[in-house]
């Protein structure tokens, strides 16, 4: 009771819970699930963009894309490290990803069909991620909050790069412009769905708010994202594929069409366009690398023995 009281006080005071502090078991579990899912998303998220590294249309773009995908691996690593402070190992988490017990963000189950998709992912998907993650920099769990600060800094860099790709395309040849518009058409609604189900249907949401893991509801964040995109789409000279999108004077926000939440549920369940490929790719990388990891372990053990 004392411990719970102390925990509540810290959270209420907007201070940080640290790994060695007592915390409710449900808080720990919620955090593990959320951080792990976030880490898995970074790792799986390397695939759709990685798909275009070999074909990047200029060496400069190839370098930027390589660096970006590398950053995602880095994010994955420090998020796994943050999760490990909660008493679970990265190996366990990776196992749970591989055997499907834990999820990653459904957005990565959509294919990157053209180069413009790399731009759209940067602009929309990283944009949505930032809107989601900026509040997490103030999350009540210290290691997660600190990881998010680092992640957000790089994500906003990525978002700008995506914007720049689309801007170049939309001001290029007619084929390039069409490619950019097609990508925005395909990624818009899946990006809106990244904020999760509408508030009414969102489980766990309320408790996470109370624990100050979450600071805003799904719908609040989604609205913020829409408002941000509308303005940027104007600069990009690209159309957001929503005929009902309009400024609501009274609300001081945009009205917009909700994404297809049934589709979101299907994709989460495993029936998205690329779920199989993404998982298969990850599993193969993991199993193809098993002999390498085993060799590294064996070598380290030999050296440790010789050192004694």
């Amino acid at each position: 009771a004392d411990l719970q009281g102390y925990f509540d006080t810290i959270v209420a005071a907007d201070q940080k819970i640290e790994p060695r502090d007592w915390m409710p078991e449900a808080y720990r579990k919620t955090l593990i699930r959320q951080i792990a899912q976030h880490a898995h998303s970074e790792i799986i998220g390397m695939q759709p963009e990685g798909n275009w590294i070999s074909r990047a249309p200029s060496l400069k773009r190839k370098a930027i894309l390589l660096a970006k995908v590398q950053d995602e691996a880095g994010h994955g690593l420090y998020l796994y490290a943050a999760a490990e402070t909660l008493g679970i190992s990265r190996d366990e988490l990776v196992e749970m990803l591989i055997d499907g017990r834990q999820k990653y963000s459904s957005i990565f189950n959509y294919p990157t069909l053209t180069w413009a998709d790399v731009g759209a992912i940067g602009w929309l998907v990283d944009g949505a991620a930032i809107v989601n993650q900026v509040p997490l920099c103030r999350c009540s769990y210290g290691p997660y909050a600190r990881a998010m600060i680092r992640v957000c800094k790089e994500e906003s860099f990525h978002q700008r790069q995506g914007f720049e790709i689309l801007h170049t395309l939309s001001h290029g040849t007619p084929e390039q412009k069409a490619m950019a518009q097609d990508a925005v058409d395909r990624w818009w609604y899946p990006s809106l769905a990244m904020f999760g189900p509408p508030d009414g249907d969102s489980t766990h949401s309320e408790r996470s708010m109370a624990w100050k893991i979450k600071r805003f509801t799904n719908d609040e964040l989604r609205q913020r994202f829409v408002d941000m995109c509308v303005q940027q789409a104007g600069i990009l000279d690209l159309r957001i594929p929503d005929p009902d999108l309009r400024w609501d004077e009274a609300r001081g926000q945009h009205d917009y069409t909700q994404p297809d939440y049934d589709e979101l549920m299907r994709v989460i369940k495993g029936d998205g366009p690329c779920n199989q490929e993404r998982m298969e790719h990850r599993r193969r990388a993991h199993s193809d690398g098993a002999w390498v990891r085993a060799a590294a372990r064996t070598y380290a053990e030999k050296r440790a023995k010789n050192a004694v």
Binding site: S54, V69, Q70, G74, H281, W291, V292, R293, A295
Partner: protein
């Protein structure tokens, strides 16, 4: 080989190596290795860009780095065959990287003070990166060679597979030799003893056997395997599909 040809050779080695390393992205045996391989790919790509730009200037026909990277066909590439070989398993990739990066480190080290100031400047920047590539690949070759029975077998097979392609790094070319005597650039054929000593040390620590040298005549730069045209087909497809477009 002309001066431009020489610079293109260094550039294309780095470019094709970067392309192959980039293929590992999201496929590495460990997440740390995904990061490391991307890093090395980025280093190689950086060197390639500087040298391609310089080669375009030397050539004087107004070709940019992208023109040279995307609009030449396989027989115009000057890279050694070593870098274009398929990635194979992780052991093959590490064997390729060890052999290449030991060569590049020696070449860059000795190019610091050469008369070609552009090459010297690139070398000054690249030598530190190169030392890291040598270190990284050496560690893996040792770990795999002296790891499990399986990893030892794979690493030895990889060394055996890649070894015959290392000859080409040390091609003897009279023009390059003349430029080297004039102090303009470094003649790669002079690097062989130092390269062999460095590689031998790593192989020994890795408990691996160095393959016998073949008595085959050296294949000249510009001669390629079947792999290069396929690599370029993928690398160039988008750029070529939109002639003249900006990206």
């Amino acid at each position: 080989m002309s001066h431009v040809g020489y610079v293109l050779g260094l550039a294309d080695d780095a470019l094709v190596a970067a392309q192959r390393l980039g293929e590992w992205c999201s496929r590495a045996p460990e997440m740390e290795e995904d990061i490391a391989l991307a890093n090395i790919a980025l280093d190689q790509l950086g060197v390639a860009r500087m040298l391609l730009t310089y080669a375009g200037e030397l050539e004087g026909a107004g070709r940019t780095e992208d023109d040279l990277a995307y609009l030449r066909s396989a027989h115009e590439f000057r890279n050694v065959r070593l870098v274009e070989l398929d990635n194979g398993d992780f052991a093959v990739t590490m064997a390729k990287l060890l052999f290449l990066s030991v060569y590049q480190r020696l070449l860059y080290d000795r190019s610091i003070g050469v008369g070609d100031e552009r090459v010297a400047a690139v070398a000054a920047k690249a030598r530190k990166e190169s030392a890291y590539h040598v270190d990284h690949s050496s560690r893996w070759v040792v770990r795999l060679g002296d790891g499990t029975e399986e990893s030892n077998e794979r690493m030895q097979a990889a060394v055996d597979l890649v070894w015959p392609y290392t000859d080409q790094l040390f091609e003897v070319d009279p023009d390059v030799h003349a430029l080297s005597v004039a102090g303009v650039i470094v003649d790669p054929s002079t690097l062989r003893p130092a390269w062999l000593a460095a590689v031998d040390a790593v192989l020994a620590e890795a408990t691996l056997t160095r393959p016998l040298d073949s008595d085959s005549s050296v294949v000249r730069r510009g001669e390629h395997t079947e792999a290069l045209a396929k690599l370029l087909a993928e690398m160039q497809v988008l750029h070529r599909a939109h002639p003249g477009a900006r990206w």
